[in-house]
Structure formats: structure tokens, C-alpha cells
Symmetry: C2
Subunit: 408 residues, 2 copies
């Protein structure tokens, strides 16, 4: 086999584990002995088009830096939300990309990202196939949302879930100090799939304090049922804690958080949401009249790298390293996946699927994971998420704050 | 000296360190050999009046439980916001309280709290003095707000500051992944004093990523200056991070978070107190038109006990233990304080002041800690806060979430 170069990029919303995957790719490339140079593209496909690269083989030549990279939040290479045009549109963007590959002698292309990034992987691999261009195009999943199909779970979800379970336990403990009736509504990310809100269930299960009610976008939301459920909780205790996905919707499809929105959409046509918990705060104030407050967990869900699931970080690094092996084995047009085995305890193997079966599809929380009332998750759901948050990744601190690594 | 009993309560908004102080009181009472029984009053003075007590000497007889208590967030005994009436109003509430003291043979009263709680300590000690009742009444400070006078800083502030500095570093890192112009506005607690927002400065100082602009309530806020400062930041980088105290006000005294010009109306037509950061988000959207988002750090500032300053927790436990010594030495009507010495590095000694000099007063961020433009803090401020966030308190985890201890 001829020695060639490789390139890796990060795309979409950052996570606390996406740099662990990058460190895995760097390690894999270094160990392989079959890759001359590993380039990093800055800001994903956008940086590729602008020919903005860094030499990762050089920048991360020692283990200490790689280990710091593992616990640095967000995308060290930068990110983008650029979507490639359809293959059948007469655009020279693909020609341009492949001319750059050719110039840099790129034989392996790794793209770490979520749903939209897998669309990029799909299009590039289809184009390469149609042009018989010799390059292996490999997608590596990441998203705190855990909403990619074909994989048991996604790298990044475990750390987000650990943060959410911990934060919800702490907030529920905080809210329990007063004796007066109060409702606290905590908003988790999750536009279409409710995995992050579901992770809040681990707080009550394992810490003892947590959410009384959990609402996911997979089930329509009814104001009256919500108020009734709160009133029922008040029968046993004065401090009610609710966790709600940002994406919960009414039966007519309208987002609960939509009334504050001004119709903004992101470049992929997704509606921009901000105010689910705030709107429910107003509702509770109007219908029950007790003290009520809302807490958006917001960006910390995806960047709180001071509390990382060791399982998640280790797996995220492993899937990055494995991506290099799969590419060197000649695989292309694939996304790597986790396959879970529960025999003799939780175990993960790395596999792959054609990226065409992933792109632009969403994995929802299944029906059996949601209770009958639609206001909490089941034990089956808790058991599914539990192993993903196990273990604490040690963080390096200096002067009392975490140490991160930066590429410039 | 006759052996008597003691009682301790927690009051006001909880912190991540208030239980460390409680553990200190329990340790101090146990070691003293001069206190028969240490009672805990549930929900502060409210529980005292309802005669709701727990026997802390019995509940925390082993070190493992005490150590878990140290890292459990919020007030393990519960809290209240009850304020005692003035001493000269003809109410029998004081008689009632002292009858309970007498019944339980209480000789030492410890109250862990903030400003309002020190008012309770003051009134009880004045009443005891006027009735020549033999009891030592001791206040122990706590507040994440760091706004109590007469003490170098308050127990609880260091852990909140560490969380804020860490979160701001992480959020700034997250926000830097895209190349498009964007403003992120992070809201810290602090109604009157800006200490918590000021702590955000440690992010940039020690992590490298952090806030470009910091606004405190100590200086009037001007919309136009704010927009100009953001535009100036854009000259050097596309991602601007702002940290703002919830209590920032316009020159006319109106809270930015309650502003009519930038405010919102909720779905029920009521004017909605969206909050300071949300209102500034609207302002930036209107005046600059770039991507803008707001993040309220919210309750996690005071309860994120998964990231604790070891310095803060150790000092908080020490001041609790010292309170017992001061009381046994016959001191009453006092609040314990931290006195800082910087000779040969940061060092803290425990002292006390008459509680009358503390009650209902606020310690503001001094002028020399705020830069001339009023949009950041000075190196002097950073140097003051720095030692308080040093060290990481180890947390016990089980099944991936922190283990806490509860009294019931």
C-alpha cells in the first residue's frame, strides 16, 4: 500500500467528547505507520474549501498534549454548519474539494459530526465513487443528542447525560430546602429526540433527589395534564422538579417554546428554540400560582468538560482510533457505530454501517422507554443510559481552573 | 463550666459550602467535650419555633458521614427566609424561642447564614442580654454573593467563583468554534454586589478563554456604551463573550432585567421579567443584528457541588469548628470572620466582629476593582479572588452520579 496523507475535521455543535475522538484519530494515524501526515481542517468543510489546515501529526506529537486534548471541551479544530449541495446540482464545489485532496495527497478523510455531517460524508463518498477517486471517506459520530440511528449511542452523550443527572440532583437538593410550595422547571436540550431530558432520570434513581416529572418531544404535550401531574406531586411533597426537552410540542405540532420565537430558523431549516421552560413557568404561575422558576441547562450540557463520563471519553477516543483502522482496511462511505453487548456486563464493540443509512435520520426515544402517563421514563430507559455515565475522567487544574489545549 | 446543649441552624439561600460549615460545627461540638448534645433546627428559626429538631450528635457520629455532608449541596437542615420582628414590637416570639432554649437546656446557638440571618443573630443576642439569659449566640457567615462586610470573604463564595470561572472558560471555548460573528451573554447572580460576575475574570486570566466584557451592579449600565464595547471586540475576534450581574441597573436605578424598552410580554399578556441577559440579548439583536444568545448560570452557581473549591470547603468547615470554640470562650452576639494575611502567601485566620456591625449591610466590589471603562475588573480584583478557588475537593461518586447525604 502506498503511504498517503489523511485529513480530519469536526463539524456541527461541539460536545465535551469530540476532542477525545479527535485525539483517537491522531493516535490511530500515528500508530498505523501507514499515514504520512494527518492534516486537520479548520472549521470543518468550510476550512477545507478555504485550504485552512493544521499539521496534527506535528502539533500533537506527545502524549501529554493528546491527553489534554481529550478533556478540552468543544471542537479544537473549530466547526461549521455548512451543508454541501446535492450531488446532482451543477456545482463545482465537489471538484474543488477533490482537487485539494489531490494536491495534498489525501487518501483518508475523517469527519466527526452529527446528522448533518454524515450527509457531508455521504455526498463526498458518493462523489468519490462516481469519479473512481481513491480515497476512504469515514464518518465518526458525535452528538450529545444521541439521536443518530444505527449506533447503540453516540460519543458525547454519556458526558452530557452525566452532567444533566448531576445538575438535576444538585438543583433538586437545592430546591428542597424551603417548605413552601414551589415548582422548578429544568430545560434540557433535544429538539426532536428526548434523550438528554431522559438522562435526568438517573438523578433520582442513583442520587435519590431528582425530577418528579420528565417530558420528551416523543409524546405530545398537554397543558392540563402537566398541571394535573404537578398538583398530584404536591400531595406528597412541596418542591416539584420538572425536566423538559426544549423540543416538546403540542398535539398540533406547535412547539411549547414557540410563542416567544420570532420565526428564526437555522441554515438547515430547523426552527430556533429558546423558551420552553420559560413558557411553562408562565403557565404554572397562571394556573397554580405558586412559586415557580425555570432553569435552562443551556450550553453547559455540551461543554461542561469539568465533569466527564470516563466511559464516554474512553469510548470516544476508541471510536476515533478505530476509524483509522477501518479506513486503512479499505472501508469507505461508512459511519462507525457502537454495538452493545450486555452479556457479562456492559461491553462495547466498534462496527460500521453505510453512511447512507444514517444521514438525515433521527433515532427517537422508543415507546417502551416512556411511561404510560407520558410524564417520565421507564426503568428500561434508565438501564439503557446508566452504563454510559460511569466513571470520572480526571481533569488537570491550574490556578483553580481546568487546563485546556488550543491549536493556535 | 456546666455541660449544656447546643443548637445549630441554616438560613437564607443555600450554597455548596453551607454543609461544610455545618460539619465543622458538628466536629467542633464533638471534640469540645463540653457540649452534651448538638441539636439541628429544621428550616432555621421557623423549625425552631415549630420545635422541629434533629439530634446531630447522634446522626453524624462517624467521620464518613461528616465527610459526605461536606460535599452535599444546599442546606441539609433545610432553610427559611423568616425575619424576626423588631425587639421593641410587643411580640411574644422571643419569649417563645427562649422558653424552647430553656426546655432543651440550650447554652449555645449557632446560625449559619447571610445578611438577614445575621439580623436574627443580632436580635436574639440583644434579647438574651436584656433578659440576662445565659446563652452564647454566634453567627457564621455564608453566602455565594460575598457581600457581607467585616470579613475578607464569605464561605461559599470560593466554590461559586470556581464554578463560574470554569463554566465561563468552557462556554467561551464552545462559542469560539464557529467563525461567524456572535455574542454570548452570560448572567451571574448578584442583585446588589457584583462579586460573582467578577469571578468570571479568572477564566480568561488562567484558562485563556473567558469573558471579553464584565458588567457589575456597582457601576451604572449604559446601552450605548455596551454596544460600542461589543463592536470594539469584534475588531479583533468574531466571538464576543459578556458576563453580566443579574443586578446591573441603568443610571435611573431601573434594573436592566426589568427594563421596559428591552422587555418581553408573556403568553398571558403580563410583562415578563425575562432577566438581564435575555433583555440584553434582545438589545444586541436589535442594535447589531448578529447571532446572539444568553446563558443564565442560574441555580448551579450555588449548588454545583461536583466542582468545589478545596480552599472554600476547608475554610467553611474551619469557621464552623471555630464558632464552637468562640462560643465556649464566652463570646456572644458575634459573627465569625476571615482575616487574610498575604505575607508568605495567602493565609486565613478566624476572628469575629460584633454582629451589629454586619447586619443589613452590604459589601460592594470596590472602585479600584473595576476598570475605568466600567466593562471589566482589574488585576487587583483577580488577585483578590484567585486564592479562594484553589484546589479541588474530591467527590464520592456511585453509579456515575455524586453521593450526597440526607437527614431523613
Amino acid at each position: 500500500m502506498l503511504m498517503g496523507n489523511a485529513i480530519v475535521g469536526q463539524s456541527g455543535g461541539p460536545t465535551s467528547a469530540i476532542n477525545a475522538t479527535l485525539s483517537g484519530v491522531i493516535r490511530g494515524a500515528g500508530k498505523s505507520g501507514k499515514i504520512n501526515k494527518l492534516y486537520g481542517m479548520k472549521n470543518g468543510i468550510e476550512g477545507l474549501l478555504n485550504e485552512e489546515f493544521v499539521d496534527l501529526s506535528y502539533l500533537f506529537s506527545d502524549e501529554e498534549k493528546l491527553s489534554l486534548l481529550e478533556t478540552t471541551p468543544a471542537s479544537a479544530l473549530g466547526s461549521c454548519r455548512k451543508k454541501l449541495p446535492n450531488l446532482d446540482t451543477p456545482e463545482d464545489i465537489f471538484d474543488k474539494i477533490f482537487a485539494i485532496f489531490s494536491k495534498l495527497d489525501i487518501r483518508y478523510f475523517f469527519y466527526i459530526g452529527g446528522n448533518d455531517s454524515m450527509d457531508t460524508v455521504y455526498k463526498l463518498s458518493e462523489y468519490a465513487r462516481s469519479k473512481r477517486y481513491d480515497i476512504k471517506i469515514v464518518g465518526i459520530p458525535k452528538t450529545i443528542d444521541n439521536d443518530l440511528p444505527c449506533t447503540d449511542h453516540t460519543p458525547g452523550f454519556g458526558s452530557a447525560a452525566k452532567f444533566i443527572a448531576t445538575a438535576v440532583a444538585e438543583i433538586a437538593t437545592d430546591c428542597a430546602v424551603y417548605k413552601m410550595k414551589a415548582v422548578t422547571i429544568i430545560e434540557a436540550m433535544g429538539r426532536d429526540a428526548g434523550w438528554l431530558a431522559a438522562a435526568a432520570a438517573l438523578a433520582k434513581e442513583y442520587n435519590g433527589m431528582g425530577a418528579d416529572l420528565i417530558y420528551l418531544p416523543e409524546r405530545p404535550f398537554y397543558d392540563n395534564e402537566f398541571i394535573e401531574s404537578i398538583e398530584k406531586c404536591f400531595e406528597t411533597h412541596p418542591n416539584v422538579v420538572v425536566v423538559v426537552s426544549e423540543g416538546v410540542r403540542y398535539e398540533n405540532g406547535e412547539y411549547v417554546g414557540a410563542s416567544k420565537q420570532n420565526g428564526m430558523v437555522d441554515v438547515f431549516g430547523h426552527r430556533y428554540l429558546a423558551g420552553t421552560a420559560k413558557n411553562l413557568e408562565s403557565l404554572v404561575k397562571a394556573k397554580i400560582g405558586c412559586k415557580v422558576r425555570s432553569v435552562e441547562l443551556n450550553l453547559l450540557q455540551r461543554c461542561s468538560s469539568h465533569i466527564l463520563s470516563k466511559t464516554d471519553i474512553d469510548e470516544s477516543a476508541l471510536i476515533g482510533e478505530s476509524a483509522v483502522s477501518f479506513a486503512l482496511d479499505g472501508k469507505t462511505g461508512i459511519m462507525l457505530t457502537f454495538v452493545r453487548s450486555n452479556e457479562g456486563g456492559y461491553k462495547i464493540e466498534i462496527s460500521s454501517v453505510p453512511v447512507s443509512s444514517v444521514a438525515n435520520k433521527v433515532k427517537f426515544v422508543p415507546k417502551s422507554y416512556i411511561n404510560e402517563e407520558g410524564n417520565n421514563v421507564t426503568k428500561e430507559c434508565v438501564d439503557y443510559i446508566s452504563p454510559l455515565i460511569i466513571g470520572e475522567k480526571q481533569i488537570k487544574y491550574q490556578n483553580g481552573v481546568p487546563v485546556h489545549i488550543r491549536l493556535k
